[in-house]
Amino acid sequence: MNYIGTIAFAILLIAGIGFFVKNIKKIYRNIQLGKTINRKDHPAQRWKNMGMIALGQSKMVKRPIAGILHIIVYVGFIIINIEVLEIIIDGLFGTHRAFTFLGSFYHFLIASFEILAFLVLISVIVFWIRRMIVRIPRFWNKEMKGFPKNDALYILYFEMVLMSLFLIMNATDVPFQQNNAGNPISQFLVPFFENNFNAGTLFYIERTAWWLHIAGILVFLNYLYYSKHLHILLAFPNTYFASLNPKGQFNNLEAVTNEVKMMMDPNVDPFAAAPEGAEEEMPEKFGASDVMDLNRIQLLNAYTCTECGRCTSSCPANQTGKELSPRAIMMKTRDRLEEVGKNIDKNGTYKDDGKQLLNDYITPEEIWACTSCNACVEECPVNIDPLSIIIDMRRYLVMEQSAASQELNIMMTNIENNGAPWQYNQMDRLNWKDE
């Protein structure tokens, strides 16, 4: 009997973790589809950012209610996972509460797990109320229909069930309750169970809760890959690799620099034959029209986004009814990346499917509504940068497709011809002095 339990547990554990690792590898492969970018400079600053922003949740509390509730759930999640270690040992070796030998420290641990589990349960219920009853607008933007909306709810239900199972498991563990230590919350559930069930049934309830708890954790672990909830893992690399430059600084396009230098060099012979082998080289594409044109950090950003919508709720374009939503930019980037990933799974390598991130997912109307104000970048609790994707797509539209609006073309022509965005003569630049 015991062997069957142990074997079943081992199979469950191996399958759960194995499947998860397989999907993580897929995410890693998909991110590698992006262009390389060096974000390994200033490691001390990067570790600090990761410590402060991901581990320390410093940007979360900018919105205090959501921030504090989130910290409770986050701390609960990490601390209660110590209990999972005990569950794994018990499951594999057929023991019961293997850490009991720790004595009073064990009871202290379990007591803190129980309190945290209770607080997490309350927080998650408040989250649900904020979403479904209070209907905070950022959870109801148009990109939050269908799966994104349900995804958020599934996660909340998962957490409610897992926390409840943990408390039920403790409440129905008769020897544990008889000890009457480490049960600050579950003791209040005991009368309900003792009044309604006999000892034999209680045993089975405890076992069922125990199994469902660990099975639930493994299912949840595997749900991450399909969900916005990946942020619990990816927030760490994402904050580590985030840009350290001032937010106003847009990256320099090296390929353009080379061409401009050549154009400005009086010694370059415009009729010179291309050097040997140069024809084979594909000229570099300017800007981005698909996920492969973005860099790896931008793709990591897409997987990290948990769709909280703080970016969108602070976006001036979105607030004034424009199509642009920075969150939707990230969600669409991930959707397209997933599509490309599935294409590769099926065909071995990417086979052109006639689709692109630009137009098929993100429209030029969204791209052109951005004021580049950096509110979205500032708001993101895990340092995602939707603005950089927007600018890369503008670059593609302008430099590869000449698809800027008439007004912008006039502005650019003016800069080209007379060094100002308006049609004034450069020779009149100092006239203000005498006016």
Binding site: P246, T371, S372, M411, W422, Y424
Partner: protein, 259 residues
């Protein structure tokens, strides 16, 4: 008003303390020219040895870069850098946060390395060094709110210099509900200044002006010629022209003492 050019300075064998980068708005826009002049008056009063490029100045390329035209941006940048480096410019001040951001952050990689400050930062240091004094004058006791330009605030973390200057005017500085890192854009950034907005329900500058109106100021202070235009348009759109004035910080200080 004394406005020497770099060429004149060089002919005299002099190197100015700082180059004043006027910018396109500051050179050509009628409203922004007043800001330029106010700032020059303050520089003159503080006896700062400065110079402008005059007709040798050209657009930094900011709107081109934000619009996605990296080619045009880099052509502008490299041409400007050649001029600036030929004059051996070390320090630049500008009253436009867009020029400020571009010169400070995006020129170094193309070979233009300078110390770049916003005019509010320079004025603050002149104040700290005792080279200028700021008195309330005619603004004493007024309610003033400061609109953070995105390219000064969030983009470059300059929040305090403009506020420190305003406080010196003996006025009541009131903050909008969205300010500093949470400040709402005026709607002009990212080359939006030069195009009609996309279809929506409201103009961004009106949304922002309403933030300002909420705190009932006598004056909306700005530190950017584009924000200035947008806020003035917003004030017009909301029929508050009689009650609220929009002024750059340089204008506030210069006008306070009737320079």
């Amino acid at each position: 008003m004394n406005v020497p050019t770099m060429a004149e300075m060089m002919a005299q064998g002099k190197q100015p303390e700082v180059l004043f980068w006027v910018g396109c708005a500051g050179s050509f826009d009628d409203r922004a020219k007043k800001i330029t002049k106010a700032f020059v008056k303050l520089l003159n009063k503080a006896n700062v040895e400065f110079a402008v490029l005059g007709t040798e100045e050209s657009c930094t390329g900011d709107p081109a870069k934000r619009a996605g035209n990296e080619f045009l941006f880099q052509m502008q940048a490299m041409t400007n850098i050649e001029v600036l480096n030929a004059y051996e410019v070390k320090k630049i001040v500008t009253a436009c946060p867009h020029c400020f951001n571009t010169l400070k952050n995006e020129y170094p990689e193309l070979g233009g390395i300078y110390e770049v400050v916003h005019h509010t930062e320079l004025l603050k240091s002149l104040l700290d060094e005792g080279r200028i004094t700021i008195e309330g004058g005619k603004f004493k006791g007024k309610r003033i709110t400061f609109h953070d330009p995105c390219y000064l605030g969030r983009a470059n973390d300059v929040y305090e210099a403009p506020r420190d200057l305003i406080k010196k005017l003996d006025v009541e500085l009131v903050e909008m509900k969205r300010c500093k890192t949470n400040g709402l854009c005026c709607g002009a950034g990212g080359a939006q200044m030069f195009k009609e907005p996309e279809k929506g329900t409201k103009d961004i500058n009106v949304e922002r002006t309403e933030d300002a109106i909420e705190v009932q100021p006598n004056i909306i202070a700005t530190g950017c010629p584009f924000c200035n235009t947008m806020m003035i348009d917003g004030i017009k759109a909301t029929d508050k022209e009689q009650e609220i004035e929009v002024l750059d910080i340089a204008e506030l200080i210069a006008n306070a003492e009737d320079l």
